[in-house]
Symmetry: D4
Subunit: 250 residues, 8 copies
Amino acid sequence: MEVQDILQKVKNGEMSVEEAERFLRRQPFDEMGYAKLDMHRKVRSGFAEVIYCSGKADDHLLHIFQHLYEAEGEVLGTRASVHQYELIREKYPEVIYDPLSRIIKIEKEGKEHIGDIAVCTAGTADIPVAEEAAQTAEFFGSKVHRVYDVGVSGIHRLLYNMEEIQSANCVIAVAGMEGALASVIGGLVDKPVIAVPTSVGYGANLNGLSALLTMINSCANGIAVVNIDNGYGAGYIATQINRLGVGGKK
Amino acid sequence: MEVQDILQKVKNGEMSVEEAERFLRRQPFDEMGYAKLDMHRKVRSGFAEVIYCSGKADDHLLHIFQHLYEAEGEVLGTRASVHQYELIREKYPEVIYDPLSRIIKIEKEGKEHIGDIAVCTAGTADIPVAEEAAQTAEFFGSKVHRVYDVGVSGIHRLLYNMEEIQSANCVIAVAGMEGALASVIGGLVDKPVIAVPTSVGYGANLNGLSALLTMINSCANGIAVVNIDNGYGAGYIATQINRLGVGGKK
Amino acid sequence: MEVQDILQKVKNGEMSVEEAERFLRRQPFDEMGYAKLDMHRKVRSGFAEVIYCSGKADDHLLHIFQHLYEAEGEVLGTRASVHQYELIREKYPEVIYDPLSRIIKIEKEGKEHIGDIAVCTAGTADIPVAEEAAQTAEFFGSKVHRVYDVGVSGIHRLLYNMEEIQSANCVIAVAGMEGALASVIGGLVDKPVIAVPTSVGYGANLNGLSALLTMINSCANGIAVVNIDNGYGAGYIATQINRLGVGGKK
Amino acid sequence: MEVQDILQKVKNGEMSVEEAERFLRRQPFDEMGYAKLDMHRKVRSGFAEVIYCSGKADDHLLHIFQHLYEAEGEVLGTRASVHQYELIREKYPEVIYDPLSRIIKIEKEGKEHIGDIAVCTAGTADIPVAEEAAQTAEFFGSKVHRVYDVGVSGIHRLLYNMEEIQSANCVIAVAGMEGALASVIGGLVDKPVIAVPTSVGYGANLNGLSALLTMINSCANGIAVVNIDNGYGAGYIATQINRLGVGGKK
Amino acid sequence: MEVQDILQKVKNGEMSVEEAERFLRRQPFDEMGYAKLDMHRKVRSGFAEVIYCSGKADDHLLHIFQHLYEAEGEVLGTRASVHQYELIREKYPEVIYDPLSRIIKIEKEGKEHIGDIAVCTAGTADIPVAEEAAQTAEFFGSKVHRVYDVGVSGIHRLLYNMEEIQSANCVIAVAGMEGALASVIGGLVDKPVIAVPTSVGYGANLNGLSALLTMINSCANGIAVVNIDNGYGAGYIATQINRLGVGGKK
Amino acid sequence: MEVQDILQKVKNGEMSVEEAERFLRRQPFDEMGYAKLDMHRKVRSGFAEVIYCSGKADDHLLHIFQHLYEAEGEVLGTRASVHQYELIREKYPEVIYDPLSRIIKIEKEGKEHIGDIAVCTAGTADIPVAEEAAQTAEFFGSKVHRVYDVGVSGIHRLLYNMEEIQSANCVIAVAGMEGALASVIGGLVDKPVIAVPTSVGYGANLNGLSALLTMINSCANGIAVVNIDNGYGAGYIATQINRLGVGGKK
Amino acid sequence: MEVQDILQKVKNGEMSVEEAERFLRRQPFDEMGYAKLDMHRKVRSGFAEVIYCSGKADDHLLHIFQHLYEAEGEVLGTRASVHQYELIREKYPEVIYDPLSRIIKIEKEGKEHIGDIAVCTAGTADIPVAEEAAQTAEFFGSKVHRVYDVGVSGIHRLLYNMEEIQSANCVIAVAGMEGALASVIGGLVDKPVIAVPTSVGYGANLNGLSALLTMINSCANGIAVVNIDNGYGAGYIATQINRLGVGGKK
Amino acid sequence: MEVQDILQKVKNGEMSVEEAERFLRRQPFDEMGYAKLDMHRKVRSGFAEVIYCSGKADDHLLHIFQHLYEAEGEVLGTRASVHQYELIREKYPEVIYDPLSRIIKIEKEGKEHIGDIAVCTAGTADIPVAEEAAQTAEFFGSKVHRVYDVGVSGIHRLLYNMEEIQSANCVIAVAGMEGALASVIGGLVDKPVIAVPTSVGYGANLNGLSALLTMINSCANGIAVVNIDNGYGAGYIATQINRLGVGGKK
């Protein structure tokens, strides 16, 4: 309902001044005291609200989980601990937990997965972050191809898998240590590459800052970067891009 | 021509062993001694090679410009100086130079501009970077809307222009100082936001590093970041995304 | 008693040279061996001394607590552990501990709360720091409004609460991750904003340094910044400002 | 005019739907193509818009200066060059320029200066930043006391001037090198201290970052920090505080 | 024995060629396989070798302790754990351990303490580092005055104790957080000040780096800085200076 | 087999098109689902693949260990925990574990060790990293001399051992704290020095970054640097250099 | 004159109350409007005030120079430009300027130089900083030995000069690049070493920060560090130490 | 001549005590007042001393150049300006200057070049640093292959040239921006790779620090790193390695 519509209704007497004011000032979120859940989010952005579980108190987590589940019929949580999984499982035995990516979820059945996102990692230690990206994208309805352990120190492993990577609408390149994977992929595909630096490594890797700098300074075109270990963020924006490639939101 | 095709031709005697070997090993670039121009680039990626003019010697610049112009009939150069403009203008009087964005170009006439990219800036000092992004995207065939000087310290200026921003396939958010613009836009649109930190500011802005960190740590979803002042990179990846939104490369 | 008064008394023989010297050199603190408690503090600044509990040895903490309690009839301690709470409770059963803000206190009854300070947070994870700020301000006699979880990625939540924020004498803006909240609030109010970066976030948040840089570089006017997670410091200076707004110390 | 008032007028027929919509969506800034001047600023915040001259193109600067002058009858510009002064003086011979603080202004005559702000510097090299702070505060109607060259390496100079500093509503402490001045003042006054780190120094001063860190980590209470060399920002927030101390905006 | 003496002896036949070569190449340390103990150290520098206990394996620590004890009749160890204390106490029941400074030692009786070193701290949390400095200096024969909790946020505490500080041959200033203590003392004494930054603080203190930068950038003269928390190093160089003040090594 | 050979065979009908294509595209690694083991590595580089044990899941580690053991008859693992040692020992009782360097291995008997690499450390705390380097080099067939605890603060210890160091084909200099060892050795030998910064130290050592910077900025020639604590990397490149010195790979 | 003396005089009527108050509150500096010259400095510290010329306005510099010259009969200025030299020379033709160290001075004739300070540099590029240190120490009455270009990459040059260095009361070690000189000297002398990092070098020297970190982390004892390029500060504290070694101030 | 020989001669009376002492203490460098030229260097290391021209005074440079030329008959200088070239050319018309690499030299004729070093660059902007490396290696007698503009964003350019790179004894990988080249080459060759980060790039490249971090954190084996833009250092150590590969120094 647009502003003009409302004003017209007020003029016509179909709506009282008080109603109109309430509407124009309406709170598009649920006040939970300690939090304001954004319930208009799915309408506004095409993505339902997701729970960042890390550090949430038990009762808050359970409360929010329930709230979102009732509204959407499915819930996605990231960075969940085993303890949090056990907590939620007591109430929702159907909940699924992946200890690698630390994703917890109840997902609607029969969800269609559209388009194509390729998720690549440099090494095996980058897989937890990659899985957070992949499973986030899948939850939001994207089809995902996983191409793991194709780091640049053995470039033949990457080249061998290029066809699969080149056919995606968007590539997620996950790498720690020196983070060179994104640049090499960026030079070989014609679609956007979302680079995810990871904290994998030691010493001068500066907990992932080094990989982040590598990716930000990439000499290849078509690369943009998200925060260190932010698989969720990569899966989210890759889904936005993938939806554009498919031809519209689902 | 695929590997299989070539091998088939060799088998059929349509191609000699030597020819086939040459093809399989063919150099997909022009060796210029000091540089290797990537002439297959447009085929591979849908984007012609672009000249990063800063620091190029006069004769190298002229030589490369000519080489690309002959191959494509148009050329885009970034970070060009007035001196470089005058140098090229002597040979190509039709060349166009924009001192603000420092873009130099000869562009084919009647180019169609498709889709929609919104380029936003926080302040007026961010406009040179924004123009590099906008003109790059336009050169590669994107339609661009400019929404400048809508920084978060006067949020009403941004809100007033939201409709225009929300209708784009991709938003480029250009901001220096504290770089908060990307987060606010990210919360208001449902399309990918490419954040460009700029070196605008002083003191603890650390020449743009502070804005970069702000954008990388954004609490909003759907944001990915390019290098400080990298308008070109933002215009490039935004064009890739915009093409997906329109439904295919042009 | 001013220097001139003392000298006059010496001249008049009302005070001996020794007495005068002692007075002029008097120690305005209590020597406890390991510490020098500033007992003139309340007279000098209008604020009683507060205990920073973190890392204090059990006997030192207890000793200082008792010393201050006897002098003032109330005590405020910050960053207290559960263990420290239990320790003090044994002797002072009336002591109150808030595990969220980690504030421990015995407070005089019937304290009047004056003026108006708004304490805002970007997310729910910033609440512990915000509570340290709010409860510090309340202990020192300020009235406080809490406006939590109004981060810029959902700007409507902030705008919805603006009236409440705009009516305060001073606003405390608490935010981690990219810390953009302070800039947006700074552009919407006409009173001083004290910005508190928090260590909430991960990766390139650099344990709060990123949010600190955002706030220091803010493009909005009327913002000044305290240390990362320093809720106490924000509550203190906000109370100073609030007292000015009310019209004098209480 | 509040939303309710407008809606009431629409109901009463005193205002057409179109008028009301225009008003509710009205642009509270002047669109100048390259900039959006915030003309409601004075109403909203009690401070007129100020020009940050550094890097502005000649015609833009002149245009903005004229625009603000016509609206307010006075203008304040910061970080102005001699060239910019000469440019503006051609059109406005009454304009005043201070090469030390680089402030340029036309100011209404007979302006009343209220309250009391003390501006202190550690050394003589910090004076340009201090003057930017002092003259900004004066332009906005504050009375200012200057106490310069009272750095902590000669603490007697500071103690000698304490009475003057202690009587202010707000103290601005400007210091480069190790930036210890703010802590010492913070311990001696009962009013808010706005600390301004400067880039004065060399070597490990990191262009002022070192002084900024000192001030942010201050062990004294009642201190908040603005950006390196940001005299303007300090003068602004100090004026907000000073106005509270005086008892209301002027 | 100088080179010339040896050669003369060889010439005179008082020393064989082999003996002389052995001497000229003699190993001025004890090879222990995993370590080379510097047994000439006391002769060369006037200070016996000290054990940095942190991270030493049990058998290595015990072995080195015994080796040094047999050579010197006394031993000093720094950064020792309670476990290491218990380990050594089994063999040397007379060993003394201070859990605050983490110093472990057997010291010769009746040691004379000469000269005067003042050890000052800003707060109580800096005392462990200060004690490492003080006890190191005492072990090496210096007289030490402790002046603790005299940080600059309550400058009167420092001024009250100045006479005691000013009479020392060398002052050690120990401070964390913003580390301003060294500058203020530097301006008040005419002897060298050794500044020791500590890791005390939180947030932007960067684990002591901030205090280190403050001290390195001090505007006061006569200040030099050692590593963060390096009480031992400060006690060592202060003893060197103190010995000069007394008039020779003891 | 070269490309030309394959094509010739295709022409001659000795190889089908399908076989040739498969060969040209052959995967030179073993796909294990979660990892791609580089089985051509020894042929390509003269070094078999090594396991970086840290963080590997139990079943993955065991699986990879077995896979490599079957292929090569020996295996080297770095950064192994005691738990991982016990895990592997259950299946391979002959496995050897060194808790100092955390190297785990099964090594072929009677391996010849060629050439000469000198591994030096500044202190005893650097030995774990040095042993990782030394044992890596030995596993790959290099003869190694260990020269430990020869840091520059007692330069005579280093000079005493120079002959041994100077006779090596390559020197590995391992040092934490200020990391000056590499520069001094670099000035005394005529062979390449591989510098390994370690995280040994505290305070401003920045976990080894300080030593890394020292080594990278070395005023001596013939020095190149690997990552902090990267003993393995140093042992690897030193073996490459040593092999060149001996006259070819073994 | 002590407080007690004054009070006694007041009691005795030898001093009026007003006189006594004036004295107790007397300003121990000359107020010059823009600066407060510390005229008691020589009495308090044994060192006259020195002018840091860099950035001083012409008239201020001249004014201060004259003021100090009249008070002391000699003046020392550091970081002076050729222009400033010419300015002062007009009025004081006897002024001496050293373009290498950028020291400007008028010095009393026949000054005695006592004790012994050794000033060492790693390379020739460090000499300007070393000369600032040496000439400062000489101005304040110290005897100085210069030992230049003895960096650790050719350790024989340093060892050859050790006797000269070992006989000093204090050693100043000036080094850029990796800054290892201080550690090596620290291990060879038994007197305090003042380490001066310089900005000499390039790349990862971070304008001297790398050398500073090296020196702060030195594994040798008896080393303390001043700011990057701070020759003046080193000369000052070395003079304090040298005076102690000689047996009192001169 | 060994120590034992000298002592034997003294014993035999073939050498006086004075002669022997002089020899044992002999200064293996030429004292030039401001510098100590290392004339034993070629004997000791196989490399003659080289002049780092940047910042050298005209007369010093000329003097040193002459000194080295007379000793060796050839001279190499790095980082020379055009002015310095003109200065030297006046006296030595045969001197050769390369403005790209800024190398100045007089070289003996008919020098043999042995072995094989491959010098690779990522882009054309890295060529000046690469030429410094290549020409240094050539001056010291190495044969060099240049493979320029083979950055990883167009990986086919690199693969096309791999054979040439793989046949070298040592590879120098020169790259700015994200610096990924070294990792990719490291995975493709079996010889040592010396990585040279360059300051090429902008924004978050941090003047080359970002490329340095990339290279230090490389996931590939056989890589060691020199300082940013340090082509000379890379050419030097690569020559050491190349000489080992050829089978001895020349």
